[in-house]
């Protein structure tokens, strides 16, 4: 169904090409609004309807969505950086220098990637705080909170593995300091440090390992965890709201 009033929206949405892609007309009535969500691969993770309360800015502060947007920006800029970067101690540093000076938009893309990463660590932490302080971890969302804590850890580790890649003094010593902490653990410490670095000191093997972790292993883990996280939000009945407080028979106020 479309408006049928000959408007531009009508013209665009009433033809075979549009319909072959979207399977419904312009979402100007509730039926099409519902279909716009359930018929779309990208949108179908959303429920058709949401509680008014969950749209309140002062409830979520949009922090979960912003975390996700930052992750998307990081994937796009990160893939772009990969075109110009080779994880070798001979060339990594000059590759980054070239990005800064010779590659079109290189400096901008690198800065975007760097600052998004820092901001994501901050925003994910703030999101955790908002979930905690609103009591949104309570039943039935216990497990999604646990997934969340893992997401926080993975976000930091992902950021940390990227820290080594420019192979400058900042990266080198940050990673040396951090892996030395690991190395001081009893029994497993030293083997674990060597496993991370692939050698006694940070060098070529460490660079390749951190690179592989940074561009595929950890992002894959992150994608899976975010997938579970979003799926659980749906399964747990959408976002928490004060209306749920009285639902539980044995603890009513």
């Amino acid at each position: 169904m479309t408006t049928g009033n000959g408007s531009i929206a009508d013209f665009i949405t009433r033809n075979r090409i549009w319909r072959s892609i979207f399977r419904q007309g312009y979402p100007d009535n509730d039926e099409n609004r519902a279909k716009a969500i359930v018929n779309s691969w990208f949108l179908h993770i959303h429920p058709v309807k949401v509680k008014v309360h969950s749209l309140k800015l002062t409830y979520t502060w949009g922090l979960g969505i912003i975390s996700f947007v930052l992750f998307l920006i990081l994937i796009v800029t990160g893939a772009w950086l990969m075109f110009f970067y080779v994880p070798s101690v001979q060339s990594a540093y000059t590759d980054v220098q070239n990005l800064e000076t010779a590659v079109t938009f290189g400096a901008l893309m690198r800065s975007l990637h760097r600052w998004s990463a820092h901001l994501m660590v901050v925003v994910v932490f703030l999101h955790m705080c908002r979930v905690f302080f609103t009591g949104a971890y309570k039943h039935p969302r216990e497990f999604n909170w646990v997934i969340g804590v893992l997401l926080w850890v993975v976000t930091m580790v992902l950021s940390f593995t990227g820290y080594l890649l420019p192979w400058d003094q900042l990266s080198y010593w940050a990673v040396t300091v951090s892996t030395n902490i690991v190395g001081s653990f009893p029994l497993i410490g030293e083997p674990l440090r060597r496993l991370l670095l692939g050698a006694a000191e940070a060098g070529q093997p460490a660079l390749v390992r951190f690179y592989a972790l940074h561009i595929i292993v950890l992002p894959a883990i992150m994608v899976i965890l975010i997938g579970i996280h979003f799926w659980r939000i749906r399964k747990d009945g959408g976002l928490s709201s004060p209306a749920e407080a009285s639902e539980n028979g044995n603890d009513k106020q």
Binding site: I37, L112, Q169, A174, I181
Partner: protein
């Protein structure tokens, strides 16, 4: 499971020319029991517009930020030239701060491990569904959070200053386990216990106790990060931010 799929208004269309009376209240297990009328809106466009705005806002802010502030790049890595201070990434600086005051296993393994395990345990400790969706649970929760934050901040500043200017190790350094393990464990456990006892005096719910403890955690993470980033100079000694050696900021 919440079931909001049955729109009340459509089963009983409202007709302004009639009056309605409530006939009976029933006890039962229908999904609508204990629920008011639906309070939902279509996701399209209400939610999607907000998501789009969040995405655009984030992108614009980052573009501006990145256009004006370039990502740092120092000299080529050189294993022979130790950076001083050698700092970890800023989000690990709270751990590096702990490292200055206790055994590395305590600072780098036990403490972060405990924090992660305890964080994950939160929903299994606070199992009531009271006050879901209410910031800080209650007025009392708000007060507990505030005073817990103040207390934690004051304790941390005191501890950091004490270990810099008086130094635990100048009082007892042998055997290593005393300054490395025993003193840090007892001091920290003691301060947390004290906080817990103080919170208990408010007669709080479990949730409110957790609010106090979680606040202590966030304030610790925040304070130690700020100290690590802005107040640690040569040899990781305390300095004012304006006296930091060049290149001491880890970003």
């Amino acid at each position: 499971m919440t079931n909001n799929n049955v729109p009340v208004q459509e089963i009983f269309p409202r007709d302004p020319s009639r009056t309605y009376g409530l006939m009976e209240l029933v006890k039962g297990t229908s999904p609508m029991v204990d629920k008011g009328p639906e309070d939902t809106v279509m996701s399209w466009p209400n939610l999607l517009v907000l998501e789009l705005l969040a995405a655009l806002g984030t992108t614009v802010v980052l573009l501006l930020w990145s256009a004006f502030v370039k990502a740092p790049l120092r000299e080529l890595a050189n294993p022979n030239v130790t950076e001083n201070p050698a700092k970890a990434a800023w989000y690990f600086l709270s751990l590096q701060e702990l490292l200055l005051h206790m055994h590395p296993v305590l600072a780098g393994l036990v403490m972060p491990g405990l924090v992660i395990v305890l964080l994950m345990a939160i929903p299994y400790i606070d199992r009531s569904k009271k006050d879901v969706g209410k910031w800080f649970a209650s007025k009392k929760g708000r007060k507990i959070a505030f005073w817990s934050g103040v207390y934690t901040f004051a304790c941390l500043i005191g501890l950091v200053l004490f270990d810099e200017f008086i130094r635990v190790r100048s009082i007892v350094s042998q055997p290593e386990a005393v300054p490395g393990w025993i003193i840090p464990v007892f001091v920290n456990a003691g301060l947390i216990l004290l906080l817990y006892r103080a919170i208990r005096r408010w007669r709080p719910s479990r949730r409110e106790v957790l609010v106090g403890l979680f606040t202590a955690f966030t304030v610790t993470y925040f304070t130690l990060t700020i100290v690590g980033v802005f107040f640690r100079g040569l040899g990781m000694h305390l300095v004012w931010p304006w006296d930091l050696p060049p290149g001491a900021l880890p970003f």
